[in-house]
Symmetry: C2
Subunit: 242 residues, 2 copies
């Protein structure tokens, strides 16, 4: 076959696009797994299911392995293709997105592990609020990933704004748990674990906003910056003691 | 002046080395500021000093700005210099190191904010253990940064191993705080905040080990991987209720 320089260039461009798409596919896979693990973690918490919680903790190793794959792919692309402008920004964003997803995965696994301790909790304790908060951050993370993959800055901005609701739910859950502990010292151990489950969920929401920021950076170099509306009163929460 | 191609090359190499050194200087500055903020946060906790705690929370914005500067410098270097091998690895490591330091800075600011709530605590409560743990992670973070900047894999490995001691101190502090809460419901609010101060300190230790891993990656491409000895029993801690 007679390969002209022009068709070679075209070939190179196509191969590069394929490699960028492969990077996105790895990130999409990571995002899906973190979301699935979160769903499983909430079910384990709800059913006080120790075995399931242990499986999730193990499944986080797959998320870590995917992060490693993203890093290797990105570094290879940087070395071999020496990209500039949009492509360079896409690869740097990919590296950082993988870090955020790995971090979210850690918080999911942490919540599942806390669920092990929580397995002995009295039935019904704060279950509904934790579940609601968990579904909320799972939804935000999925939306952030879609915005990232679709380079959809409008959806990204909506995710970024919505995190304030997660902070509000977190603050009220924090107060609820403190009140339980004051009413009945026997639930102090369990509720302390649930404080951390709630905090981990809130931090998964933070990763969703970080990914939303990356979506904007990737799409146009815009930075939403560190001025995100933050409304987490749990840091300052106090409850009147009886 | 007559510039030969050879001296031009030399000039280019020197300029690139200068830029890499500038990237390291930004990271060193970030590390120093996070360490200083941690020292201030511990002093604020110890002295129950609300004003100082607020200053630290504000100082974290400088750390965030430095992270932004690292990102911009790294992307510019990638675009203009199109580095390969060691240099590429150094820049990618720099990007990730800045993320870890920003994260550590967040945990310091979080600990300081929790200290605001803690300002009403009864004197002496768990102060010594928190201070000891704080100094421990501050020391680990400083050692990790030195190992990173000096490309010293041996010191990096020592930091990576030492984090297990932080986990042990964290577990025992967690139990101590739960015991306080069970003995006296009036300290539940304050001790809940201290649980998070302790957790934030433990996570600063995690960032130190992450940076130690980057030091090895940067020096020789070696990954210490995700098999770090982890011994944090606080996730499972339970205390017998009276």
């Amino acid at each position: 076959m007679n390969t002209t320089p022009a068709s070679q260039d075209l070939h190179t461009v196509r191969a590069f696009d394929d490699e960028l798409a492969a990077l996105d596919a790895l990130l999409a896979d990571m995002g899906r797994r973190v979301g699935d693990n979160l769903t499983q973690a909430l079910a384990a918490l709800d059913g006080r299911d120790r075995d399931r919680a242990q499986v999730i903790s193990a499944a986080d190793a797959d998320v870590d392995a995917l992060e490693q794959a993203v890093n290797e792919t990105a570094v290879r692309l940087l070395a071999l293709r020496q990209p500039v402008a949009d492509d360079l920004r896409g690869i740097v964003a990919g590296l950082r997105c993988a870090t955020m997803l790995e971090r979210a995965g850690d918080y999911v696994a942490g919540a599942a592990r806390r669920g092990l301790a929580e397995a002995a909790a009295p039935p019904g304790l704060s279950g509904a609020s934790v579940q609601r908060m968990g579904r909320m951050v799972g939804d935000l993370l999925a939306r952030a990933m879609r915005a990232y993959l679709d380079r959809d800055t409008e959806s990204a901005r909506a995710v970024w704004q919505a995190d304030i609701e997660v902070d509000n739910v977190h603050s009220s859950l924090f107060r609820e748990l403190l009140t339980y502990m004051m009413e009945d010292p026997r639930v102090i151990g369990v509720c302390s674990q649930l404080l951390f489950v709630a905090k981990n969920l809130e931090r998964i929401g933070d990763q969703a906003t970080n990914i939303a920021e990356l979506a904007c950076y990737r799409a146009g170099g815009e930075t939403l910056g560190h001025t995100r509306p933050k409304h987490d009163l749990a840091n300052y929460a106090s409850v009147d003691v009886p």
